[in-house]
Amino acid sequence: MAEMVFQRTKGLQDRPFHYCPGCTHGIIHRLVAEVLEELGVLDKAIGVAPVGCSVFAYDYFNCDMQEAAHGRAPAVATGIKRVHPDKVVFTYQGDGDLASIGTAEIVHAAMRGEKITTIFVNNAIYGMTGGQMAPTTLVGQKATTSPFGRDKNHAGSPIRMSEMLATLEGPAYIERVTVTTPAHIRKAKKAIRKAFEAQIEGKGFTMIEVLSTCPTNWGMSPVEALRWLEENMIPYYPLGVYKASEEVK
């Protein structure tokens, strides 16, 4: 007697990812897709993926999708959600996208308590464009536009978006997770589920920040990248719940 323990979710289309070997974008995609499937909302989900390595998300998620301009996914999602308040709307954004060019849009979607879920993939780098410094790049970390390592006096210290957005009243749920181990991956999935549930219950803006790797632009093997993330990113970006409105707790 055989029982399926793990199988590719119907939340994903039957297409291989274009991501680099070992890039954790793939894991995060799967988690979101699994949650949508398990919550039974694939047929009423509308996703928004702006530019970034995940720009082709519309080829992967098995639900309606909109590609958005760099940084503007929260505004696009706002437009969608206001039109379809009964649908499940999410954005899937990189750190360059969300924490740099799209700062105003995410802050204001959060402020408005826009009933959307943002999956914020923080890999401390601009992946798609070839490894430039992101606002989340760690001090001392090398990137193509910080070739001598990010200099705090020149470019400042990295921004912690979860902490920053948690100061607002609009967010119902904000948690930072990672996907470096099976345990973390399971925890990440729970967090994502919680965020979508809060959205469905109309509680407010929800965001899950996922610390992710970019082996290619970090110049590491995928396995090294996971370790580097754990040793360098988690200390600066502590995992945990940053905001849980009364009802969500």
Partner: protein, 184 residues
């Protein structure tokens, strides 16, 4: 009068781009008019990459190679894609380590070069591209090996100067293969 229009193509990571740059550099060293034009796929890693190199006595008009005088195909998709762009009697260099077919056209000068195998023999899998380049130099006579070595020196700088001998070996091996084989 020289007017070389070369397409080099392969997987990302096969050193196609640097092979092209090296040849371009060598052309410049010999005082020719040169241009190098890359083209990437959307993938960051993996995917395909190719570049166009022009070396000419005249100023380079279009930097795009549409009718190639030589095609260096490092993998099968590249061969399929670029074989048709060769001019009649053009040079087709096929990396037979990874490509399981020969030339389809019979109006071109084709060589099958087991570049990866030779590179592995030489102890550095990364210099398959130099094997192909050696073959190209030999088959066309367009540019001197010395110019390529001089270009290499400039590109490598001191820090990597120790790699020059093995690169030269690779160039030589590629050249030998061409010398040894007859077209086909």
């Amino acid at each position: 009068m020289i007017n070389e229009r070369v397409i080099m193509a392969g997987f990302g990571g096969q050193g196609v781009m640097s092979m092209g740059q090296l040849l371009t550099y060598a052309g410049m060293i010999e005082g020719k008019n040169v241009s190098w034009l890359p083209s990437y796929g959307p993938e960051m890693r993996g995917g395909t990459a190719n570049c166009n190199v022009i070396i000419s006595d005249n100023p380079v008009a279009s930097p795009i190679v549409t009718d190639a005088t030589a095609v260096i195909a490092m993998n099968r998709p590249s061969l399929d894609k670029f074989e048709p762009t060769l001019v009649k009697d053009g040079l087709l260099l096929i990396n037979s380590s990874l490509i399981d077919r020969g030339a389809k056209r019979d109006d071109v000068r084709a060589y099958q070069i087991p570049a990866n195998e030779i590179a592995n023999e030489l102890g550095n899998s990364r210099i398959a591209n130099m094997v192909m380049l050696g073959a190209y130099l030999e088959a066309t006579g367009a540019i001197k090996k010395e110019s390529v070595l001089e270009a290499l020196k400039k590109v490598f700088g001191e820090r990597k100067a120790h790699l020059i001998p093995i690169n030269e070996d690779a160039l030589n091996r590629g050249a030998e293969l061409v010398k040894a084989s007859s077209c086909g």
